[in-house]
């Protein structure tokens, strides 16, 4: 019986069952523990942000005239709003910047966050990464008077705090791990028997992270075919001037035992709102946090551009039409000031703590790119 269950919980058979008999999966006690973990992780994050760090939670907008255009290759969803085209939020980034600054100008702490529902029609190749969902929740925060290094401190504090809270529920997590352990190797995840609260997170500059990967591939060229098999794609070229492709991000993650930051991405890698160093043209003041053991990125964040004269050329780099962003640009013109923030994927975090082979198992009604399920 137990063996039968393992088999039915590989991502592909899981999806098949989900399409025809979602109740069978959702009513499984182990899956119920996963959903409980989801709740615990959410509470832990809210506690840290609202109680420890004095962030205020806002209800985010669901739709709006514009949304985050900086999501690599993912399409936004249009919705007709009384004769006008509105977008479903792919992230609330433009809206949270305004909220943080307005709160600060009103004399309150300029620290805000959302538990934001995001919708992104990701490219189909992301169906194989085990960490992309079209519909997901991002805990999205923004703080005034901060740069990316300040945001990294908050990120580290937040994740460490979740680790600590989850440590209290280790035995429950272990039951979940037991269920999924047989799938780990196939999904490129390292084995796990206990949860160790990490010490200070390592920080890499982007270029050093690329060099580290290049050196590793040089030494172990066999990882390329492994990656290609693992993701079912042809590996793309690793470049110093573009974002790390998914497959390399996984590789780097699998080489680590603890969460780590990559910061200072090249300019082409991110949206127009990530601030560029004045002293280092072409380099952005931004970062990602990657979880170890093959789980990959959970956080993306940055210091923001706040001078409209710097934002406009960046918008043109993405081929954006300025008139779409009128309200945002005029807000920057009048009230722009330094802020920084990040978003942490809630399902990704849950997946990491539950050691799930795929993110689709982190919630009862997952939307995997290109797969039709309830």
């Amino acid at each position: 019986m137990a063996l039968q269950q393992y088999k039915s919980y590989t991502p592909s058979s899981y999806l098949e069952t989900l399409q025809h008999d979602p109740f069978a999966i959702i009513s499984d006690p182990v899956m119920q523990w996963v959903y409980e973990t989801y709740d615990l992780v959410s509470q832990s994050m809210r506690d840290y942000l609202s109680k420890d760090q004095h962030f205020l939670e806002f209800k985010p907008p669901l739709i709006g005239p514009v949304t985050d255009p900086g999501t690599r290759g993912a399409k936004q969803t249009e919705i007709e709003f009384y004769g006008k085209d509105y977008k479903f939020m792919s992230s609330g980034i433009l809206y949270k910047q305004l909220l943080a600054i307005s709160r600060e100008e009103a004399g309150m702490p300029g620290r805000i966050y959302f538990f934001a529902d995001n919708l992104r029609m990701e490219p189909l190749e992301t169906a194989n990464t085990d960490r992309h969902l079209a519909e997901f929740i991002q805990v999205d925060l923004e703080m005034v008077g901060a740069d990316h290094f300040d945001a990294m401190e908050i990120a580290e504090g937040l994740v460490t705090s979740v680790y600590k809270d989850m440590k209290l529920h280790e035995s429950k997590l272990q039951t979940i791990w037991e269920r999924f352990a047989p799938t780990w190797e196939d999904r490129g995840l390292s084995p796990r028997t206990s949860l160790t609260v990490p010490s200070r997170f390592k920080r890499y500059e982007f270029k050093d992270a690329v060099d580290l990967l290049l050196a590793h591939i040089d030494e172990y060229p066999q990882v390329i075919p492994e990656m290609e098999k693992r993701f079912g794609i042809k590996a793309t070229k690793l470049r110093h001037d573009a974002e790390l492709p998914w497959e390399y991000e996984w590789l780097l993650s699998s080489l680590h035992e603890e969460p780590f930051f990559i910061h200072d991405y090249p300019r082409g890698a991110r949206g127009f709102y990530d601030r560029e160093y004045e002293s280092k043209p072409g380099i952005l003041m931004d970062f990602d946090l990657l979880m170890p053991h093959g789980y990959g990125e959970v956080i993306s964040g940055a210091a923001r551009e706040y001078d409209h004269r710097r934002v406009i050329p960046r918008m043109k780099e993405s081929g954006e039409s300025l008139s779409k962003y009128k309200w945002y640009l005029s807000f920057l013109q009048k009230h722009g000031k330094p802020t920084a923030g990040f978003g942490i994927g809630l399902e990704r975090t849950v997946r990491y703590f539950c050691a799930l082979p795929s993110i689709m198992m982190a919630l009862p009604y997952p939307k995997v790119p290109g797969v039709f399920t309830p």
């Binding site: 690599r72 290759g73 993912a74 399409k75 936004q76 249009e78 006008k84 085209d85 029609m121 990701e122 490219p123 189909l124 190749e125 794609i233 042809k234 793309t236 470049r239 001037d241 573009a242 974002e243 492709p245 090249p266 300019r267 082409g268 890698a269 406009i312 050329p313 960046r314 043109k316 780099e317 993405s318 081929g319 954006e320 039409s321 008139s323 779409k324 790119p369 290109g370």
Partner: protein, 482 residues
């Protein structure tokens, strides 16, 4: 008779702002508009001022005969395969990225099929999805964007070709590229590297001017909502037609460079092409784009991309095609190896060979595909004729010349004539591969052209006793050889 422009002034006085645009009839598929790009007289040199110069001594021909195992090489032995912007093609000819005009759209799938079967690269211009639908047709008689793309891939010659797709600001609002990038029907082609996204940074006949169009009232209201500038404001003034202006976009060296890098980042599985126009800082643009790693740069000379250009811009804006070719030629001397595609009034094999000899990797053709696709019996009666402007004749022509599958054959026939010409001419130069073409294969009868390119003037040396080497040194060039 006087050459004072009486008639033009009267036309302007009577019609007002409308008179500076071509009328709708003039821009249809049989029109002469835009073909008359020189204005009253030809004012600048063209590719026709260059001649091909076959040599008596043909060491490459001798070498080729070794491969052929004792037979003299023949024109058909010229291999016309090329790799352009990451795509393999059977000829250095690309169907230029043409967009939404209805007379083109209605035959665009026939051209897709012809290009696919011939192994040519197929371009798709801006605004197609927005006008005719991404998938579902907005007009049952008009193919949608996906019809074009899928027709191409259904007929693609194995191992050859590729599709180049533009996105303008209106397409960007509906995120055309993102939508394509996540469309399961073309994911496999994306993975095989058969799709390019093309940034549009210019167009031949209207460099520095955005898209200009005369639109009806409904369209005006819809487009105003999407951020276009409409004149006059349709919410205020009610009339039959309006001017639609779209932005020429904003570029600096930094913006172009980073836009290329951003596309590379966001769409790692597509090729990145850049189409630009005949700008005076073209050489600088070539350097920036090449350094940012663009896969191909398409340069439209002022004679190209005529579309709906105001008459004044047709006649007075931008560098002639030949000057654009010169910028490519110079870039080659600087050691830039990016794929270059030249366009702008090219329609014959000889022009293709000349462009290749001077640094282009290929040429893009627009209007010739449109005309070839419509070469039905009696087409000659209408195409390019002034009287076509008459409404009755226009109706008659549309009745006689209905788009059909035959367009595929017409386009193939036309392209085959170019293939034959290219093979004949290249073989005459004693060469059997396009890669061997170089500036030694061309001369000029125009002293100015010869001088600028540093070519041999067919009427002898440029000035008194100087050797070729002296000339080259003076211009700071180093000679390239085949």
């Amino acid at each position: 008779m006087t050459d004072y422009p009486y008639e033009e002034i009267i036309e302007r006085a009577r019609k007002g702002r409308k008179s500076i645009y071509p009328t709708r009839d003039e821009t249809s598929r049989f029109s002469v508009f835009g073909a008359d790009i020189y204005g009253k007289s030809r004012r600048f040199p063209t590719l026709d001022d260059i001649l091909l110069a076959p040599p008596q001594f043909t060491p490459h021909r001798l070498e080729k005969s070794y491969d052929l195992i004792f037979r003299e090489p023949f024109y058909r032995d010229v291999n016309t395969d090329r790799i352009i912007g990451g795509f393999k093609t059977t000829l250095p000819i690309i169907q230029a990225s043409m967009g939404s005009p209805e007379d083109w759209n209605v035959v665009s799938t026939y051209s897709a099929r012809a290009c696919a079967e011939l192994g040519l690269i197929y371009g798709i211009g801006e605004n197609v999805a927005a006008t005719w639908g991404y998938d579902t047709r907005t007009d049952p008689k008009q193919p949608s964007l996906m019809d074009r793309i899928l027709t191409y891939f259904e007929h693609r010659k194995e191992g050859y070709g590729g599709v180049v797709i533009q996105q303008n600001e209106e397409d960007a609002t509906s995120e055309l590229w993102n939508r394509l990038y996540s469309d399961p029907r073309i994911t496999d082609f994306m993975h095989e590297g058969l799709i390019a996204f093309e940034i549009k940074a210019g167009q031949g006949a209207k460099s520095g001017i955005g898209g200009e169009k005369i639109v009806d009232r409904d369209t005006a209201l819809r487009l105003q909502d999407k951020g276009y500038i409409i004149y006059p404001d349709p919410e205020v003034v009610e009339q039959e037609s309006y001017e639609r202006h779209s932005s020429p976009d904003i570029f600096t060296a930094d913006i172009i460079k980073n836009r290329i890098l951003k596309l590379r980042n966001d769409y790692p599985r597509t090729r990145i092409w850049l189409k630009t126009g005949p700008y005076r800082d073209l050489s600088e643009l070539i350097r920036v784009a090449a350094e940012a790693g663009v896969d191909a740069l398409v340069v439209d000379g002022k004679e190209g991309g005529t579309g709906m250009s105001p008459t004044a811009s047709l006649q007075h804006l931008g560098l002639p095609t030949l000057s654009c070719l010169h910028a490519m030629y110079q870039a080659r001397k600087e050691g830039i190896t990016t794929s270059f595609v030249l366009s702008g009034r090219i329609s014959e094999g000889s022009q293709v060979v000349k462009a290749l000899a001077l640094g282009a990797d290929g040429v893009a053709l627009g209007r010739p595909f449109l005309i070839a696709a419509n070469s039905y019996p009696l087409a000659k009666l209408f195409v390019g004729k002034e009287f076509y402007k008459s409404k009755i004749i226009k109706r008659l022509a549309r009745f006689v010349v209905k788009p059909s599958e035959r367009s595929v054959q017409y386009i193939s026939n036309y392209i085959e004539t170019l293939r034959l010409e290219i093979q004949l001419l290249v073989s005459s130069l004693g060469k059997y591969s396009l890669d061997l073409l170089s500036d030694e294969d061309v001369i000029s009868t125009e002293q100015r052209v010869a001088q600028v390119f540093g070519l041999k003037d067919s009427f002898g040396p440029l000035s008194t006793p100087q050797t070729d080497i002296d000339l080259i040194d003076q211009r700071g060039y180093t000679e390239i050889t085949g």
